[in-house]
């Protein structure tokens, strides 16, 4: 039967198409599991003041939640860009992940503070609930407080323009300020 003979070729053609498609996919990119869900509830201290806060403190929205630590080299690399974004009026909240308070305060004093608020997650429990697996990570919260995007790695202008413009249309270009 003629069709049967061409079956191996046909199956291979499908395989080749799949592999071709695979070349443009990044196998290591892991989207946030909590995508579309509200930011997890928490009750943690903040860096600069006394008392604890919860998810309601992450206001105004849309906003960015940036997971960082002083032991994280890439966080230092992206820090200037975060300052730039803050200057343009993007609300950025910090999640100080498994870090030391004194070191964190010193870091912010030295390098500048782009964060409206800095949640201290010393034990990493909030990070675990979010699905953090390595700093730096940046989450986008929409108006409702749902997680709508996560970027793992250094946040820079190129990444912002490519992925973040949906929620921050006016703050995308350089020189913009609110």
């Amino acid at each position: 039967m003629p069709v049967k003979r061409f079956l191996p070729l046909g199956i291979f053609a499908l395989l080749a198409l799949l592999l071709f498609r695979g070349l443009s996919i990044d196998p290591t990119a892991l989207p946030a599991a909590r995508l579309g869900q509200p930011f997890p509830e928490f009750s943690l201290p903040v860096l600069q003041t006394e008392g604890t806060v919860g998810a309601t403190a992450l206001d105004p929205r849309p906003a960015l939640v940036n997971v960082w630590a002083t032991w994280c080299y890439s966080c230092r690399v992206e820090h200037p860009y975060l300052l730039e974004l803050a200057r343009r009026g993007v609300p950025i909240f910090g999640l100080n992940y498994k870090d030391d308070n004194d070191k964190a305060r010193e870091w912010l004093a030295q390098l500048g503070n782009p964060y409206r608020l800095n949640v201290v997650d010393a034990a990493g429990t909030l990070g675990l609930d979010l699905g953090v697996y390595g700093a730096p990570e940046t989450y986008v919260l929409d108006e409702r407080g749902d997680i709508v995007h996560r970027h793992v790695g250094v946040l820079d202008q190129a990444v912002f323009e490519r992925d973040f413009m949906r929620w921050f249309p006016r703050q995308g270009s350089q020189g913009a300020s609110d």
Binding site: R5, P8, L9, F12, A16, F20, L23, S24, P27, T28
Partner: protein, 663 residues
């Protein structure tokens, strides 16, 4: 100067390979003897120039020429010379060159040992291999040139070879593995040549068989070595992870197993012809697919070379041409060579068909599991992972399924047999081994373990069946012939391979079921117990190595009050890269391994230590050795050696007469 010479050498090889791929092939269709006769010469020419290029790259590494990019990226002046040598293939560009070197080696071997083959056939075989060489040489020259230079910013020293690769394993594992991978191109070339000529008879199978067996044997050895290397190098005591790169080498092996058996049938009985051709095409295709998976970055793996989608595209296009072309050829030519079914439902052919089926299913299952994350991602259905729990769950039953057939197979008759006869032959061994299985499982570990008992049952049955077969042949062979001559190399090889397989299965099951492990904190003068063994940490020390500094912990291991070994695991810090590596200490024996590895230091005088007791783990690799050597031995069989000394004319004449008689 030397790298430039190497580059030129590679270009010359490329041109010669182009000639090899085109001229003899064209000649074979025009019956142009002169063109066809060029094939062996061109094949040797390609080999010579590739060898020169490889030698020059080696010289660059050994002489610390850091103006060559790969040397700077993968070597270091402090690196011991033997590792400078193996660093040649410890990277993407160099390993590709090794690939081509081994391919040209196989080409030369085929060219020299095939005087008995008709000219048309041999010229086509060599041409096909030449075309494959063209692809890889083009890939190397265009995207992965090993002779690329850093003339502007020549570094003073190199980045050093990854410490994990600074090990004898790197010296042997890739070459052996590539011998197998690349060697599968030979049966592939034979299959293509056969399809082109429209003649797929028993003689084609007979020519292909020794090459296939040798290639498959090397692949078996290469995989086994990789497993052993991972075991002692990585520090966890694991020996197979179903990692995509491991699967990339395992799939050709699985398909190769089916091919080796299928070729036997085609040679002896002239049937399974289209099956065998397809298997030959698939086995090498899987080799190429493996090359793609490992170097394109499409799948995540601890083993992967630098992942580069651009290179991946090149390999994919090459893959599409080679595999697509051969499958198209198959689709167009196959019906003319399909064989009639002239054997019964109960026969050796049928059993080998079942074997083909199971191994083909196993290959597809591994392929599906390996590619599943990619499929899901490509269709945006989410990110999935498929790992050892899945593969073990589906693969082990398949192997268990095939094992009973391994006992029946060798005693079965061609064409027509009866299940009653099988039962009569094998019932007694089956009963004996069942009892033994229960007893041994109990005796070996002090408690009955169902899986171990099953493994002993299946493996033991295979061995008993094999032993019986050997005994039969020795005592009932042709009268007058000396005893040892009654066992042909083919038979001995098959026996060894089957026994080896049984040993692997048994070792795998026992070590999976009865491994014991302890993770604990130990300080000097502390003692830990693991089963019947006592591990005493005697002292901590430091020791320098050629290119590293090591923290050592000296353990004394005793059993029943007697000290049986001193184990010194290390934590090494490599000076050039700053990387830290665990070097496990292993006390090995046939029946058990004792394995000690250091974790992190706890304070100034204590370490986190992992102690492991691994029973019968060596059986895995000894079994693998038996499989590999068994396969290699079959190629020494009389009938193949007789082929070597004959000339093509005689073969043609004899074949014509024999074929004329058989209808």
């Amino acid at each position: 100067m030397i790298p430039e010479l190497g580059h030129v050498s590679l270009i010359i090889a490329f041109v010669l390979a182009l000639g090899l791929g085109a001229v003899p092939l064209w000649g074979s269709f025009r019956a142009n003897v002169a063109a066809m006769n060029l094939a062996p010469t061109l094949a040797v020419g390609v080999s010579v120039f590739v060898a020169i290029a490889f030698a020059l790259l080696t010289i660059s590494f050994l002489s610390d020429d850091f103006s060559v990019a790969v040397v700077a990226a993968n070597s270091n002046s402090l690196l011991p010379p033997i590792f400078k040598f193996s660093a040649v293939w410890g990277n993407h560009e160099g390993s590709l060159l090794l690939w081509v070197l081994i391919l040209s080696g196989w080409m030369t071997a085929v060219a020299c040992l095939s005087s008995a083959l008709p000219l048309t056939m041999i010229s086509r075989v060599l041409s096909v291999m030449g075309l494959i060489a063209v692809g890889f040489l083009a890939f190397s020259l265009l995207t992965s040139n090993p002779f690329e230079r850093l003339l502007l910013n020549t570094p003073l020293d190199g980045n050093d070879l990854n410490p994990l690769l600074q090990d004898p394993g790197l010296i042997i594992h890739p070459p052996l593995l590539y011998m197998g991978y690349v060697g599968l191109s030979v049966p592939f070339a034979f299959a293509i040549a056969a399809l082109l000529s429209g003649r797929l008879d028993a003689s084609w199978a007979r020519w292909s068989r020794p090459w296939t067996n040798v290639a498959w044997g090397f692949l078996s050895l290469g995989i086994m070595l990789g497993s052993w290397w991972a075991y002692y190098e990585l520090g966890w005591g694991g020996w197979w992870f179903w990692d995509p790169v491991e699967n990339a080498s395992f799939m050709p092996w699985l398909m190769g197993t089916a091919l080796v058996h299928s070729l036997a049938v085609t040679e002896k009985r002239g049937v399974f012809r289209s099956w065998t051709v397809l298997l030959a095409i698939f086995a090498f295709s899987l080799s190429l697919l493996g090359t793609f998976l490992v170097r394109s970055g499409v799948l995540t793996s601890v083993h992967a070379f630098a992942a580069d989608p651009e290179r991946g595209l090149f390999i994919l296009i090459f893959l599409a041409i080679v595999v697509g072309g051969s499958l198209l050829l198959y689709a167009l030519r196959a019906p003319s060579v399909a064989s009639r079914v002239n054997y019964g439902l109960v026969s050796r052919e049928a059993l080998l068909m079942v074997n083909n089926l199971v191994f083909a299913v196993a290959t597809i299952v591994v392929l599906l599991g390996t590619l599943f994350p990619l499929v899901m991602d490509a269709f945006s259905l989410g990110k999935y992972s498929v790992g050892p729990p899945y593969f073990n769950a589906v693969f082990v039953p398949l192997m268990a399924l095939v094992m009973p057939f391994m006992t029946v197979g060798p005693i079965s008759r061609w064409r027509e047999d009866s299940t009653r006869r099988w039962m009569h032959e094998l019932l007694v061994p089956a009963a004996v081994i069942s009892v033994l299985a229960v007893l041994l499982s109990w005796f070996g570990s002090g408690a009955f373990n169902l899986w171990v008992a099953l493994a002993i049952l299946l493996a033991g049955w295979v061995v008993l069946g094999v032993a019986r077969d050997v005994w039969r042949r020795l005592t009932q062979g042709a009268q007058g012939a000396p005893r040892w001559r009654r066992l042909s190399a083919s038979f001995i090889g098959m026996t060894l391979a089957h026994v080896g397989f049984a040993a692997v299965v048994l070792g795998a099951v026992v070590v999976s079921q009865h491994t014991e492990e302890r993770d604990l904190r130990m300080a000097v003068d502390e003692v830990a117990e693991l089963g019947e063994y006592r591990f005493a940490l005697k002292r901590l020390s430091q020791a320098p190595g050629p290119n590293y500094v090591a923290d050592q912990a000296v353990f004394e291991v005793s059993h029943s009050g007697r000290v049986i070994a001193t184990l010194i695991p290390e934590k090494r810090r490599y000076l050039a890269s700053g990387q830290v590596m665990t070097e496990a200490a292993i006390e090995a024996s046939l029946w058990r391994d004792l394995y000690v590895a250091l974790g992190e230091p706890i304070g100034a005088d204590a370490w986190a230590v992992r102690l492991q007791y691994k029973p019968m783990v060596r059986w895995l690799w000894l079994g693998g050795l038996l499989i590999g050597f068994g396969a290699l031995i079959t190629a020494l069989d009389r009938r193949y050696r007789a082929q070597l000394s004959r000339s093509a004319a005689v073969t043609a004449a004899v074949d014509k007469q024999v074929l004329g008689l058989a209808r």
